[in-house]
């Protein structure tokens, strides 16, 4: 007891540091994304200056090969990345958690069939599945990319949910809940989801990062959002030809992607540790 209370404050301090770092990084992206709805430095589709200008007071990140302001493109990219990340994870989580719980409760043969299907789906790279879905929907736009990524991610979420739920289902407190008269839906809501949530939420953060990067890849391949939706992947693709003369066009989307992905992961870790009662001080 005493040793636990002695180490607890330091542990908590570390947890809140992680949480704050995550909040700041993600908050920054959200603030920029919200700002784009009311104000942008320049019209994202218009020529705002000379071609491939370096950073200046007028163009903080310079201009691209068509003379468009790079900072404007990056800001719009933030908005798109957040929409894609949140949308894809929401779809992936909804489908994945439902399928995973279904498998955990299913009879043995149905569970085996679902597990085998999920394993096969997971064997394909996320991006490949997303490309197939986009190709099948025959119009490439932002929403088709989000749905495609959501479906691709759902297999990973479903498999994890299934394993976690099975682990909780054998616990005596589930049997105790049944002998206490709780119905299965109630048991799922009160006992199973709260107990698998910490692991799931960290996984969702990971998926968020994956989705944002995968969307950049889809855009890079021309399967993502069409212009004027300047996603980071498109900025990267357009800067590719001029990467030696104007490297900022390639570096900026990279930094933005990494900072958002890291921010979301820190935020999820921090939230999990703050909410988890077993990690609180005694």
């Amino acid at each position: 007891m005493s040793s636990a209370t002695m180490t607890a404050p330091r542990e908590q301090k570390r947890h809140s540091l992680i949480l704050w770092a995550g909040l700041v990084l993600v908050g920054l992206h959200i603030a920029i994304a919200l700002l784009t709805f009311v104000w942008l430095p320049y019209d994202p589709t218009a020529m705002a200056g000379g071609r491939l200008e370096g950073p200046s007071l007028l163009h903080w990140l310079g201009t691209d090969r068509l003379g468009r302001d790079l900072l404007t493109q990056m800001m719009i990219g933030s908005r798109i990345a957040l929409i894609v990340g949140i949308g894809a994870v929401a779809i992936g989580a909804a489908i994945g958690v439902t399928l995973g719980l279904l498998a955990a409760f299913a009879s043995k043969w149905l569970d085996d069939a679902l597990a085998a299907t999920l394993d096969i789906l997971i064997a394909f790279p996320t991006l490949l599945i997303a490309m197939l879905v986009v190709a099948a929907s025959d119009t490439a736009n932002l929403w088709s990319a989000i749905i495609a990524l959501g479906i691709a991610l759902s297999a990973i979420v479903a498999r994890l949910t299934r394993i976690l739920a099975k682990r909780v289902l054998v616990m005596d407190y589930i049997t105790a809940a049944r002998t206490s008269g709780s119905s299965w839906p109630k048991i799922v809501a009160i006992h199973i989801l709260p107990n698998i949530w910490p692991t799931l939420s960290v996984n969702f953060a990971l998926q968020f990062g994956l989705a944002v990067i995968a969307e950049a890849s889809l855009s890079y391949l021309g399967l993502g959002a069409p212009p004027p939706n300047a996603s980071w992947g498109r900025v990267l693709q357009e800067a590719q030809g001029t990467v030696y003369t104007a490297p900022l066009g390639a570096i900026a989307p990279g930094i933005a992607l990494v900072s958002l992905a890291i921010g979301v992961n820190l935020l999820a870790d921090g939230l999990r540790d703050t909410i988890d009662p077993t990690r609180r001080a005694r």
């Binding site: 616990m171 005596d172 407190y173 049997t175 105790a176 809940a177 049944r178 002998t179 206490s180 008269g181 709780s182 119905s183 109630k186 009160i190 006992h191 709260p194 107990n195 988890d276 009662p277 077993t278 609180r280 005694r282």
Partner: protein, 253 residues
């Protein structure tokens, strides 16, 4: 008066291996029965049948004269109120993410038992020897023995007539075990108790009657004192023979 009647019950997870084979057993109101047998003898399976979590393959179980039918929702609601269980592992039987208050109140909420739940939870905590105000804390803040008290509080809060204890003291250290046995002995004055154990010493101290289970069959049953004084079945004799050796070792070491 008979509270529970188990009538020629058989159960097997697979067709050719019987977990329970033609088991008959009566639990009278207010009785304390020790169900003794080695691991794999079918004790826990019998308990699951008695709780209505599984149906027997053949035979019948009646509670208070009515058939125990897991499909009969109205009956099960009154049954759940009257039959509760305490498990062996105090670390697995309490949801780590719920406060003690909400763990103990779960039967009250789910069975829609009227009254002041906060007061009922406090009374149950007091009845098992814990402070009324521990309700806001979480399971990980308690020791194994305290957790078992919390599990017992959850079991007695709806006011059951039958308490099933599945190896409820086996995972506890010796001194804690004695305290929990004392607690159960006190509770058994106001309800029937079926105490499942492989520890014949604890059963001798706690239970008026004993039922010996071997490989899914009831091999001997009767008053604890007379069965232990004069065991008829070879299996009971073997079980008993292992007890003095253990206590001798404890004395000499």
């Amino acid at each position: 008066m008979t509270l529970v009647r188990v009538d020629h019950v058989s159960f097997g997870y697979t067709a050719n291996r019987r977990i329970l084979d033609d088991v008959s057993l009566d639990i009278a109101a207010g009785d304390t029965i020790g169900l003794v047998g080695e691991s794999g003898s079918g004790k826990t399976t019998l308990l699951r049948l008695l709780l209505g979590l599984t149906r027997p393959d053949s035979g019948s179980i009646t509670f208070d004269g009515k058939p125990l039918d897991p499909g009969n929702g109205a009956f099960m609601r009154t049954f759940r109120r009257q039959a509760q269980v305490v498990f062996q592992d105090p670390y697995s039987s309490l949801d780590p993410r719920q406060t003690i208050r909400s763990i103990i109140a779960e039967p009250l909420r789910s069975l829609k038992i009227p009254g002041d739940h906060a007061k009922q939870v406090g009374d149950a905590l007091e009845a098992v020897g814990l402070e009324r105000d521990v309700g806001t804390r979480f399971p990980h803040q308690f020791s194994g023995g305290q957790r078992q008290r919390i599990a017992i509080a959850r079991a007695i809060v709806p006011g059951p007539r039958l308490l099933l204890a599945d190896e409820a003291v086996s995972a506890l250290d010796l001194t804690t075990r004695i305290r929990i046995v004392d607690l159960l002995a006190g509770l058994s004055k106001s309800m029937s108790l079926l105490f499942v154990s492989h520890d014949i010493g604890v059963v001798a101290a706690l239970c008026r009657r004993i039922v010996i289970l071997e490989k899914g069959r009831v091999v001997e049953t009767g008053d604890t004192a007379s069965v232990l004084a004069n065991p008829k079945h070879p299996y009971t004799q073997r079980l008993l023979a292992s007890v003095p050796r253990l206590s001798l070792n404890e004395v000499s070491s």
